[in-house]
């Protein structure tokens, strides 16, 4: 695996202009010894960790998710006092960094599980390493881009209308899934909490910057889905139909999350004696 500034620039250029080159793995490596495969797996983990750091570190440095209340536990203080004076600040920084990383890490894990499960079910799997390679590169570039953009929208002044549009689209999607699962599947009405009402998407008042950000967000989502499709085609040598099934499964994986959340809420409400 190439490292260095030149390799990174080529990587960035490939991720935009040649996503097939970006996502494709060198499958010849996987026919080598277990040691070589293990070494490559470690390299992939390093790539993923570096990209996670690139995503979470600026957020942490900007103070997003920061809590000034947190004090370092005694064990941490004991370990770090010989190295740093301000153990509370270090603890707050590390815990904020972890908090900012959790969502992206969880999303990457969901993508890996969904991708590889679907590839195995469609009988197209050439191995876990091929799936791992695909997910590391697709999430590191495109999913991280989506998350970074959403975080930028939620924290930047002057983009309130754009923020509102993204939130409304999210809420409407959630409600559409709940409606399908509720009325369509189990015959009862499911709805989101009263504080998050679905409604029409209003584009009026959106700034030029907001329009560009929405267009870029939509493009990143398409890139992500397309890169997953390419990963299935190139790294698992799947045919078009199977690769489309894999990409559809990734797009549908939030539905599983929503269904799971709804099921848990129903159980809690029933168990707690409340009527839906």
């Amino acid at each position: 695996m190439p490292w260095g500034t030149e390799a990174m620039l080529y990587g960035v250029a490939n991720s935009i202009f040649r996503p097939s080159e970006f996502v494709q793995s060198n499958t010849a490596i996987y026919s080598n010894s277990r040691g070589a495969i293990a070494q490559y797996a470690i390299q992939l983990c390093i790539v993923w960790a570096l990209n996670l750091t690139l995503y979470a570190l600026p957020l942490t440095a900007a103070g997003i998710g920061f809590s000034s209340q947190a004090t370092a536990p005694a064990v941490f203080t004991e370990l770090t006092v010989p190295l740093v004076q301000l153990t509370d600040s270090m603890w707050q920084f590390i815990s904020t960094f972890i908090r900012n990383s959790v969502f992206f890490t969880a999303a990457s894990a969901i993508v890996l599980i969904s991708f590889h499960t679907t590839v195995v079910i469609t009988n197209g799997s050439r191995g876990l390493m091929q799936s791992f390679h695909t997910v590391v590169y697709t999430t590191s570039a495109y999913l991280a881009g989506i998350f970074a953009l959403l975080m930028y929208l939620s924290t930047t002044d002057g983009l309130s209308q754009t923020r509102e549009i993204v939130l409304t689209l999210q809420v409407n999607t959630f409600q559409a899934v709940l409606d399908t699962l509720g009325w369509g599947v189990i015959g009862i009405e499911l709805s989101l909490p009263a504080t998050t009402n679905p409604g029409p998407v209003t584009f009026q008042g959106i700034s030029q910057t907001g329009m560009i950000l929405l267009a870029v967000l939509f493009l990143l989502v398409l890139y992500f889905v397309y890169s997953v499709y390419l990963g299935a085609r190139l790294n698992h040598q799947m045919d078009r139909t199977s690769a489309i099934i894999v990409a559809t499964a990734i797009v549908s994986s939030p539905v599983i999350y929503i269904a799971g959340s709804a099921a848990v809420t129903i159980l809690i409400n029933i168990y707690g004696g409340q009527v839906i």
């Binding site: 935009i16 202009f17 499958t27 010849a28 959106i206 329009m211 267009a215 939509f218």
Partner: protein, 179 residues
């Protein structure tokens, strides 16, 4: 297994110059091919034509997607995609213009240059596990083809080849001869 090198020279290590010279002189070049950029030019033309039509439609119908703002977002999206596609095709043209395929009696080799970097890749015939020949619609119209060696195993693809039938037959013959 393919051999990659970042220079034009073959990477095999030799114990003495005379052995290297003797072996080099035994290699017989059978065919040297420069791929054509015609398919990429057609792709570029089609991309520009379709994108400009879509952009014109969106400009002429500002409320096509419900509101002016929604249509503007779609317009920005199409323009970004157009720029990306044009740059992508330009990169492909640059690569193909500097690409040379060499078929010898021992191996098939692809060499190209991009941004001052020379890249070459070769597959010796005794390591070829599969050979494929394909033509998409544009290649069919232009009477050119693509030859793929070892697809799925670190493949080598010879794209946009004029006289692709002849090249394919030579490669097949050499594979049989070298087994």
């Amino acid at each position: 297994m393919n051999q990659d090198s970042s220079n034009n020279e073959d990477g095999s290590a030799m114990s003495s110059e005379s052995v290297h010279d003797a072996q080099s002189s035994e290699v017989k070049q059978l065919m040297k091919i420069k791929p054509t950029i015609k398919p990429n030019l057609i792709q570029l033309g089609l991309t520009l034509a379709i994108s400009l039509v879509v952009i014109a439609i969106l400009y002429d119908n500002p409320e096509l997607l419900g509101t002016v703002e929604a249509t503007n977002i779609a317009l920005i999206f199409v323009q970004i995609v157009l720029v990306i596609l044009v740059i992508r095709i330009a990169i492909q043209i640059l690569i193909i213009r500097s690409t040379v395929y060499t078929i010898t009696d021992q191996q098939v080799r692809r060499e190209y240059r991009l941004l001052g970097r020379n890249k070459s890749r070769e597959v010796p015939y005794n390591l070829v596990r599969s050979v494929g020949y394909s033509q998409d619609r544009i290649e069919n119209l232009l009477n050119i083809g693509t030859i793929s060696l070892n697809e799925g195993l670190g493949d080598l693809e010879l794209t946009s080849i004029p006289s692709s039938d002849e090249a394919y037959n030579i490669i097949q013959e050499q594979i049989k001869h070298n087994r």
